[in-house]
């Protein structure tokens, strides 16, 4: 009788294994699916005696093929990738705008100083003076449009940060919910593998947004906190992150968990949040300050020189530019009513054709301006150097991005090599377990024949 019993246990084990293989094949293309297998164990003989081989086979449990370390590696890679890829579009856009030879600050300055140089041929000529005014206006527009692009980027960064914060909150809430289901299922004995897969996918999404520390708890849940230790998910409870605007245009992030509130100040957060912060704090704001300082000092220098001279009609020189760092329309514009005949090129009220002051204006091109990011650089070279530093910044980020992509790809590949489904392997499993099933059925048949023979003798 034990032969039939053994064969039955084998057939049942084969069925369980075939079922598991079918689940694996069905989820061949499911992202984040962790393949499963059966853990077979032989059963100790139930009857005493040296000649009892054993009491069949049992499926001790289903195995989840997963490696915690590989998951952690994948999440860390997601944070790095998120950080680099969030900043890159902004860097590229800024580079395109600032690096454009025809529309940049540089060629505007060239045109302005060319107009002044041209005026030195005939300092009292009205068309030449008018050309100076036109070039000055065009230059102011260039400063303004660059400033506008950067202000636009800043508000885009703020908007994106708000969206990311919302996503973080939604994901944290979902992870907490899945944690609860997983803990519950352990109590009820349901296989939680699908829930675990779902939760880990959510953690992966969350890791792309902000760098995480993930700690496993004995009840199967995972606790998730920020790099600085501020909790996002603890068991079935999740935190809420909020971004609030400051008067200077920056944003402050706070995390509220239960009754506690954590303010994230200048933290290197990692992930997309960190990438946005890095771009805003280390690239965009210094660049805005530099461009603004350049415009201000250029305007001041030109105005000071002009007011030291005299217009052709002998009147004292008037400033040409007006600078306003918070201007709604732009940071730099021409003084209302500025006209060519007012430009003070002469150093003497009695001699309109004198060009001494004009020569000093032309020399401003090589005078230094002091920028927050570069220190003292000549006005003519300032924009070039700003583009150079931006280019270097972008180049570094691109190199980092390429590395992060490779690392992430490898981490995914490594995770899949443990947890991913291989169709050929499942085909082999199917054949083997089919054979296992058939063999056990054959054993039943043999046992049945033996039984029949025994009955035949008796009858």
């Amino acid at each position: 009788m034990s032969i039939i019993h053994n064969a039955l246990s084998g057939a049942l084990a084969a069925q369980a294994a075939l079922h598991t293989a079918s689940q694996n094949v069905a989820n061949l293309m499911t992202p984040g699916y962790t393949r499963q297998g059966v853990l077979l164990a032989s059963v100790q003989p139930m009857f005493a005696g040296k000649l009892s081989a054993g009491s069949g086979v049992s499926v001790a449990s289903l195995v989840r093929f997963s490696d915690e370390y590989k998951s952690l590696q994948m999440w860390r890679a997601a944070s790095e990738l998120g950080e680099r890829s969030a900043a890159q579009p902004y860097l590229t856009q800024l580079e395109q705008v600032m690096g454009a030879e025809e529309s940049g600050i540089n060629s505007g300055l060239d045109a302005f100083f060319s107009a002044l140089n041209a005026a030195s041929v005939d300092p009292t000529s009205t068309p030449l003076r008018q050309q100076v005014i036109k070039a000055a206006d065009a230059l102011a527009q260039r400063f303004n449009s660059l400033n506008q692009v950067m202000s636009g980027q800043r508000s885009a960064v703020s908007q994106q940060r708000l969206a990311v914060v919302e996503q973080i909150n939604a994901l944290a809430a979902e992870i907490a919910k899945l944690n609860r289901h997983i803990a519950d299922s352990q109590g009820t004995g349901v296989n939680p593998t699908a829930l675990i897969d779902q939760r880990d996918m959510k953690i992966d999404e969350l890791a792309r947004l902000v760098d995480l520390q993930v700690v496993n708890q004995p009840d199967g849940t995972r606790s998730v906190s920020l790099r600085g230790g501020q909790p996002l998910v603890l068991g079935a409870r999740s935190a809420t992150m909020t971004a609030t605007y400051n008067p200077d245009g920056s944003q402050t992030l706070t995390v509220d968990f239960a009754s506690e509130s954590f303010t994230l100040i200048n933290n290197r957060l990692g992930g997309e949040l960190g990438g946005l912060e890095h771009f805003e704090v280390d690239v965009l704001v210094p660049m805005m300050q530099s461009v603004s300082a350049m415009a201000e000092q250029f305007a001041d220098n030109v105005n000071t020189q002009l007011t030291a001279g005299f217009a052709p009609d002998g009147s004292a020189g008037q400033p040409l530019f007006e600078f306003d760092s918070t201007g709604a329309v732009g940071i730099l514009r021409l003084r209302d009513g500025a006209i060519g005949s007012e430009l003070a090129f002469s150093s003497n009220p009695a001699t309109p054709g004198n060009s001494d002051n004009l020569l000093l204006l032309i020399a401003l091109r090589n005078q230094p301006v002091t920028l927050p990011t570069l220190g003292a650089v000549s006005l003519a070279d300032a924009a070039t150097q700003l583009v150079g530093t931006l280019g270097t910044e972008s180049q570094q980020n691109q190199a980092g991005l390429a590395t992060a992509e490779t690392v992430r790809n490898q981490a995914e590949e490594s995770w899949k090599s443990t947890s991913g489904v291989n169709a050929d392997e499942e085909a082999v499993n199917l054949m083997q377990f089919q054979q296992l099933y058939q063999a056990n059925m054959k054993v039943v048949a043999v046992a049945n024949e033996l039984f029949e023979s025994t009955l035949a003798i008796l009858s």
Binding site: E101, D110, F113, S120, N354, T384, T389, G391
Partner: protein, 303 residues
């Protein structure tokens, strides 16, 4: 290492995406002829190219200034030439008048020929440009070079009302050239001519009168002195033209070498780009074939 089935697809996707990005970039470069599309591709080269562009812009302006200045100097030279021709005619008249056999009627007639020459010199000295500014008043371009006051006694009717300031034009980095000529000596000469004209117009004037002879001699001296000065200024203008031509040549050779440097730095090497394009295309085709072959392999096809 164990490979999951989806890994083939993921690898293929990554490979194709990378290849597309590379192809897209090389196509953009080939379309624009630029070696670098963004400063970040080579920040150092972009800084150097930008500096070359700045220098080119300044050189262009210097060269334009030189062209405009040469035009202005040539115009001044023509005025001075015309003026010295008038002065030579006046001198001829003086030589003629000094002849002792001239009757007073002859001398009166000569004096009347002097007036148009004086007028011509006066108007030329007060020459104005298209915008009405006086060419020879130094930097006092809105005041006439020479002012004529008919109420004053002969000999002090003409006054130089300009100044002798030099207008400097920028023609190179830190290099300036004067653009104007001040005709401060003409007024004194015109006064002298005016004086002699009055003397010679006197009825029954005799050239043998020592006072008349002295006036004629003084006028000839004044004419000679002024002619010498004007000829000197014409020579200076010629010298300026030579300096400007030399500067222009220097600027154009620097500009040429800048352009060559910019080409080397920023121009796409099409041969190299075409080779890369071929290489990338081959790589994509090979990857696609390999994927096609690998994805056909499945144990499910044979069981």
């Amino acid at each position: 290492m164990r490979i999951a089935s989806t890994q083939y697809h993921a690898t293929m996707n990554t490979a194709l995406q990378n290849a597309s990005a590379r192809l897209e970039l090389i196509l953009q470069k080939m379309a624009s002829g630029q070696k670098y599309m963004l400063p970040s591709e080579n920040p150092i080269a972009s800084v150097r190219m930008s500096r070359l562009a700045r220098e080119e812009a300044t050189l262009d302006q210097y060269r334009e200034n030189i062209a405009a200045l040469r035009e202005r100097l040539t115009r001044n030279e023509q005025y001075l030439d015309a003026m010295s021709a008038d002065m030579l005619s006046a001198r001829d008249l003086m030589v003629w008048a000094a002849d002792g056999s001239n009757t007073s009627a002859d001398v009166n007639a000569m004096a009347s020929s002097l007036q148009p020459l004086m007028d011509s010199i006066f108007f030329t000295a007060n020459a104005r440009d298209a915008e009405g500014r006086y060419e020879f008043s130094g930097s006092a371009t809105s005041t006439p070079t020479i002012t004529y006051d008919p109420a004053a006694p002969a000999g002090s009717r003409y006054t130089y009302t300009g100044n002798t300031d030099v207008q400097l034009v920028v023609v190179g980095n830190g290099v300036t050239q004067p653009a104007n000529v001040a005709l401060n000596e003409i007024a004194a000469m015109l006064n002298q001519l005016d004086e002699v004209r009055v003397v010679l117009t006197t009825p029954n004037v005799s050239v043998n009168d020592p006072a008349v002879r002295a006036a004629i001699a003084a006028t000839m001296d004044s004419l000679d002195g002024t002619l010498e000065s004007i000829t000197g200024k014409i020579a200076t203008l010629g010298g300026s033209q030579n300096i400007l031509m030399t500067l222009e040549e220097n600027h154009s050779s620097v500009s040429l070498s800048n352009k060559q440097a910019a080409l080397v730095l920023g121009q796409l090497d099409y041969a190299d780009a075409a080779v890369k394009l071929n290489g990338y295309t081959t790589a994509v085709q090979a990857t696609q074939r390999a994927y096609g072959a690998v994805s056909k392999l499945s144990l499910f096809d044979v069981i």
